[in-house]
């Protein structure tokens, strides 16, 4: 028989306001096995933990139930406290009477009743708990960064500077990401390339950093400290060691009509290309889908003009398999498609563009060499209208429910730069709210209004109406004047919502990292663990976790690096002891369990067993506890009931069911 202590937390008024904690103590004390029950203001406080430890020592407790917040919050706290008092930590169970009870129920009597039942279930479980010993696993001292934008680059630099090997896997031919497409950055108007390029060079030159561009993560197995990852290095068709980056192949390539992704399709590139001048590595790739040589077998111009003999049409994709201790996701974002928002005439007029397209137009290396001009006729626009929140803050099924966070500031930036460079051009911004929470952000926005005379109109635009003369008519609300206005414009810029890179879903599935309904990766805790995934060993960097601007991205990238370094610095990790265990007397050696195990943790051995005095050799299942992650799939699959899960055994769960239904 266990000797159980029950500890009921008030959590200030978080629990005590709706649950009668005294009543819970009173009723829990009557449960079988309970020899001690008390309540306290804050069980997680030092004094609260001391109470638990004192009771363990004085009453010789063999089990502890803490009725408090979610075990996801403080299970570890209480288990450590118990361990310090000499109790096996796995003899502690939590009854979640806050998130699952006091916070969602209003009626005191009802909530108290439920809290008592939850306590009973936990007590019933602890009655069947057995001490468990965690094992150990090794840590591979190498990190993988998925995504080579500013988030990935910063994380890689920080981890590498701490002395660990880092691999960056980037899908496109060059690192640099979205930031490399930006012209200027807010709120200081630094040139984006000027501050990004040195970081790219530093990453490429770092002896601890290895960059795989034009590569994708194909398969991930293993677990924290010991991941095994397959990386597909797509065939570049150019030998990286031989290429000198002279660029002649690109000049001579006859296939010149391919939409240039880097310039958002606003101009064309060749089939052999580097995405932009500062690309790292400065080695082109052949886009095989559009290459004449690959399509027809004829051509081969690039090979003929290459002095270095670097062109290799026979190159094959290569799979690199590597072990990692930590993985950082830094997959970034894209702007949403605008096909559901054609009231803004994006697909009907060339002069309606997205902000990212404007970014390319404003850039000296962009499709118009940095001249602000209409894409339809090349004329300089005299009236420019910006529309905010296109696809952001939408609760219908056309857009995204969240605020994209960066648009208010980059629009102020665009407006200011245009007014500065083209004083004859009038700029109007239709906004719903101007959101500028950030250091020097509101001052920046006010500068756009006060110094640069940008006309901000509170109200959304209902329709952009192309005119026969090629201009645009913008029909919008002015909510301050309570008017509907028709504004003639030469160009309209849409602050298009951002969304996580569509590939992130595939990657999250490989990593078994959870993802929210908007495809942003979920943090382990929204406030206290914002750069970690709930899946151990997976860290989050940049917009893959939620919309953010460059300074925030860099800050988060550093934070993710520190978390990864904290992991890599350890030589060993203790493993979860809640693993499967087979009863060799019941096992009939059928292999069903091994077939459902996702980790290959179950093997079979011919073992001599003593079955009620009969000694014989049988084929029985054996669980490798270093590999077992404790999902329990095998326990249900096992037809003979031999397989059970420690810490969540059949008897324990049934005891909980019984206690709840009592």
């Amino acid at each position: 028989m266990q000797r159980i202590g029950v500890f009921v937390c008030h959590c200030g008024s978080n629990i005590a306001a709706t649950v009668d904690v005294k009543k819970v103590v009173e009723l829990a004390a009557k449960e079988p096995g309970v020899v001690h029950a008390e309540d306290y203001q804050y069980m997680c406080s030092e004094a609260g933990q001391a109470k638990i430890q004192e009771a363990i020592r004085e009453k010789n407790l063999t089990g502890v139930v803490v009725c408090s917040c979610s075990p996801r919050m403080h299970e570890a706290t209480f288990r450590k406290a118990a361990e310090r008092a000499g109790l096996n930590p796995y003899m502690v169970e939590i009854a979640n009477i806050r998130e699952h009870c006091s916070w969602i129920h209003k009626d005191m009597e009802e909530a108290t009743k439920k809290a008592v039942i939850l306590a009973r279930a936990a007590i019933a479980k602890v009655n069947l708990n057995a001490p468990l010993q965690p094992g150990e696993s090794r840590v591979t001292k190498r990190a993988l960064i998925i995504g080579g934008g500013i988030a990935g680059i910063q994380t890689a630099l920080d981890i590498a500077d701490a002395g660990y090997e880092v691999d960056i896997v980037e899908k496109t031919p060059s690192i640099g990401g979205r930031m490399s497409q930006l012209d200027k950055t807010f709120p200081t108007l630094d040139c984006s390339a000027c501050i990004l390029t040195p970081k790219m060079v530093e990453a490429a030159a770092h002896e601890k950093i290895n960059i795989y561009t034009y590569s994708e993560v194909e398969h991930v197995s293993g677990f924290v400290g010991d991941f095994t990852v397959d990386i597909r290095k797509k065939a570049r068709s150019v030998n990286m060691d031989k290429c000198t980056g002279c660029g002649v192949c690109q000049e001579k390539c006859p296939s010149k009509k391919i939409p240039n992704e880097f310039n958002r399709g606003l101009n064309n590139r060749t089939a052999i290309y580097t995405p932009f001048a500062q690309a790292i590595p400065n080695v082109p790739v052949i886009d095989r889908e559009n290459c004449i040589k690959f399509k027809t077998g004829k051509c081969g111009v690039c090979s003929k003009v290459c002095q270095a003999g670097a062109i290799d049409y026979d190159q094959q994709d290569e799979i690199v398999t590597q072990k990692y201790g930590a993985i950082v996701v830094a997959t970034g974002f894209d702007t949403i498609k605008l096909d559901k928002y054609d009231e803004y005439a994006y697909s009907q007029s060339k002069d309606v563009i997205t902000s990212l397209e404007l970014e390319r137009i404003m850039n000296a290396a962009g499709p118009t060499k940095g001249h602000l001009e209409r894409l339809s006729d090349g004329k300089a626009p005299k009236e420019l209208v910006f529309i905010q929140c296109v696809g952001s803050r939408c609760s219908d099924d056309r857009g995204k429910p969240y605020c994209s966070k960066i648009c208010c500031m980059y629009t102020a930036k665009h407006a200011m730069l245009i007014r500065d460079k083209y004083p004859d051009t009038n700029v109007t911004v239709f906004y719903i709210d101007v959101r500028t929470p950030g250091k020097n952000f509101d001052e920046f926005y006010r500068r756009a209004v006060e110094q640069y005379g940008v006309n901000y109109i509170k109200g959304q635009v209902g329709k952009v109406i192309p005119q026969p003369d090629g201009s645009l008519l913008v029909q919008g609300s002015d909510l301050i004047d309570n008017k509907q206005i028709l504004k003639k414009a030469d160009m309209v810029v849409l602050a298009t919502a951002i969304e996580p890179n569509p590939d992130v879903r595939k990657i999250a599935t490989m990593l078994t990292a959870s993802i929210d309904t908007n495809n942003f990766l979920t943090e382990a805790h929204a406030k206290l663990r914002p750069v970690e995934s709930p899946t151990a060993g997976i860290f989050l960097s940049g917009v893959c976790q939620g919309p953010k601007d460059i300074p925030e991205t860099v800050a988060q990238a550093g934070a993710a690096a520190v978390k990864a370094i904290g992991l890599l610095a350890k030589d060993k990790l203790t493993t979860n002891p809640c693993t499967a265990k087979s009863d060799e007397l019941l096992c009939n050696g059928c292999s069903t369990c091994a077939n459902v195990c996702p980790y290959g943790a179950i093997s079979y051995e011919d073992k001599e067993v003593n079955d009620h005095g009969i000694r014989e050799t049988r084929r029985v299942a054996v669980v490798n506890t270093a590999l077992c992650q404790g999902c329990g799939a095998c326990t249900v699959a096992c037809p003979s009931g031999a397989m059970d899960l420690q810490g969540f055994s059949n008897r324990q769960i049934i005891a909980e069911v019984d206690a709840i239904c009592r």
């Binding site: 009231e343 929140c389 803050r393 939408c394 609760s395 219908d396 056309r398 857009g399 719903i432 509170k458 109200g459 959304q460 635009v461 209902g462 329709k463 029909q475 919008g476 609300s477 909510l479 309570n482 509907q484």
Partner: protein, 129 residues
Amino acid sequence: MRNEHSAAEKIKEISGTNPLKCMKCGKCSATCPSFNEMDIKPHQFVSYVVNEDIEALVNSKSLWKCLSCFACVERCPRDVKPGKLIDAARQLVVREKGGDYLKADEIPELLDPELPQQLLVSAFRRYRR
């Protein structure tokens, strides 16, 4: 309306929309082809219902200027759909005895030989019980 609160509730019920979802972007008013004819503008309909100022609403000209063209319904980013609120307010009026906007005896002079039946039928349904 005798009781502003219950009238507001009735409008929410008939329209099936939740005006609290509104983020006050004004896209409805930006999109409304009847905007200039309306005394209470489409985006204001939402706040009138939220503030339970129904008396003013049902007496507004706007009830009879809405075309049910669904432009605001289609383009509302928050699923509030002011057009449905306007129609619900109109229902409150026409369901009251004597609240018809179109009287039978004024019809003959509105007719012309080409006028399609559809026009009369539609107007009847929108304007009368």
